[in-house]
């Protein structure tokens, strides 16, 4: 019977403490009943191999214990598509272009041999991708825990503001700080990126706009009413954001590459790459804000019509106070 004790101890390890003894007593009873039946059927005591076979048939201890535990996911089906989207966005659409257009060329320009520079870039990229993967996975794993979101009103999968909008709005704050305050501090092997003064001039106004936009999204996410107010406020924030980008477009020299170890021609070439990347980035932001503005503008008449009403998905008994 030592086998059964060992088996039960192994199951115990995986069970929640408050229910351990109760569950084990029941499993133990079931095993002994089964063994009794087999012994009666065969007219003799079972040997160790036969007992082992019975236990093996029941399944591994973690499998047996797992049937008593609530089904949990690190990232469940509700969040998984968004998780994949954010991973793709960060790694393929942000990190890959950044390494291909900025960091890779910097490493190549700063190195005497191309191959080691490419390997260095690949190593740095893999490191950055791994860090991004770990952070994003960690954040989504936290979001998977519903007890952290009990303050939410309404169903999680029917938010007034989508999770995508929320993550998108919140991501602009660290991105802006990273771009304007952190990038100039980086030393890519003796190569510095010097941002034009306009970035520093606009740092605080744009940061304030990003915080306002994020706060509006959070507010809209938590409180599904006041849709008209949200849209108007977002339109105002987007308007100011377009104005700020317009001010950024008063210059075309957004970034200068300073590399004392390189020739002036190489520095100029690198600066051209940097400015091209900045132009693409700014144009992308303009398109994103313009699309959001159009969406909000087109939705405004509907909000005026439904003023004071709850959104349809929250009208019938889905609000959890």
């Amino acid at each position: 019977m030592k086998q059964i004790d060992r088996y039960l101890r192994a199951i115990k390890f995986f069970l929640p403490k408050p229910q351990q003894n109760d569950i084990l007593a029941e499993i133990s009873e079931d095993i002994h009943s089964q063994l009794d039946d087999l012994e009666a059927e065969r007219g003799r005591k079972l040997n160790d191999a036969e007992i082992a076979a019975v236990l093996k048939k029941r399944g591994s201890p973690n499998l047996v214990a797992g049937a008593y535990l609530p089904q949990k996911y690190l990232i469940g089906p509700a969040w998984y598509p968004l998780y994949c989207w954010v991973l793709t966005l960060v790694i393929l659409l942000v990190q890959v272009p950044l390494f291909v257009t900025v960091i890779g060329p910097m490493n190549v320009l700063n190195s005497t041999a191309i191959l080691p520079a490419l390997f260095q870039t690949l190593g740095e990229f893999l490191q950055a991708a791994l860090v991004a993967f770990a952070w994003i996975t960690g954040i989504f794993a936290l979001m998977e825990r519903p007890d952290l979101f009990t303050f939410r009103r309404g169903k999680r999968d029917e938010p007034r503001t989508s999770i995508t909008d929320l993550v998108n709005a919140l991501s602009w704050i660290p991105l802006w700080i990273y771009l304007v305050r952190w990038i100039p501090r980086f030393n890519f092997g003796g190569v510095h990126l010097v941002l034009a003064p306009i970035w520093q001039t606009l740092f605080w106004p744009v940061l304030a706009l990003a915080i306002a936009a994020a706060a509006l999204r959070v507010f809209s996410f938590l409180s599904p009413t006041h849709a008209k107010f949200h849209r108007l406020a977002r339109l105002a924030v987007d308007g100011f954001a377009l104005l700020a980008i317009g001010l950024l477009f008063t210059t075309s020299n957004w970034v200068h590459v300073a590399a004392p170890n390189l020739t002036a021609a190489t520095e100029q070439a690198a600066s051209r790459w940097g400015n091209l990347t900045a132009a693409v980035f700014l144009m992308t932001v303009v398109v994103m804000i313009a699309l959001a503005t159009i969406r909000d503008w087109r939705g405004l008449p509907k909000n005026i019509q439904n003023r004071g009403k709850l959104p349809p998905d929250l009208r019938q008994g889905t609000i959890v106070e």
């Binding site: 007593a25 029941e26 499993i27 009873e29 079931d30 002994h32 399944g59 049937a67």
Partner: protein, 119 residues
């Protein structure tokens, strides 16, 4: 193909397990049963259910208030006996109605004469 059939069969049976367990515990000749006997009784009636499925299911039904349980000694061993709670009785009656409705609908849908008619 066989794996696919197994998965579909499992899915089909899973929905019936609650009804089978509650129904078995309603039996007037044996209104409270412990897990092993319940499993054997279900198997004797053609509803084979794995122990790793039955016991967690019994706990879940008890948590939901459909079953009541108590530890009792029988044949020198402590066993946990389950019986239907008053709520369980009510729910079972409603589930049986639901099952009959579904059964009748499915019967009409998959009846052989319907297929012949369609051809």
């Amino acid at each position: 193909m066989s794996e696919q059939l197994d998965a579909l069969r499992l899915e089909l049976r899973r929905g019936c397990l609650v009804l089978a367990v509650l129904g078995q515990l309603r039996s007037e000749d044996c209104p409270d049963q412990y897990g092993y006997v319940l499993r054997k009784a279900l198997a004797d009636r053609g509803m084979i259910i794995d122990e790793n499925t039955l016991y967690p299911l019994l706990r879940r039904l008890e948590t939901q208030g459909l079953l009541q349980s108590e530890w009792r000694e029988e044949e020198k061993r402590r066993k946990r006996f389950y019986r239907l709670s008053p709520d369980g009785e009510q729910i079972l009656a409603q589930l049986i109605e639901e099952w009959r409705g579904l059964n009748a609908s499915l019967g009409r849908i998959i009846a052989p004469d319907r297929r012949e008619g369609a051809l």
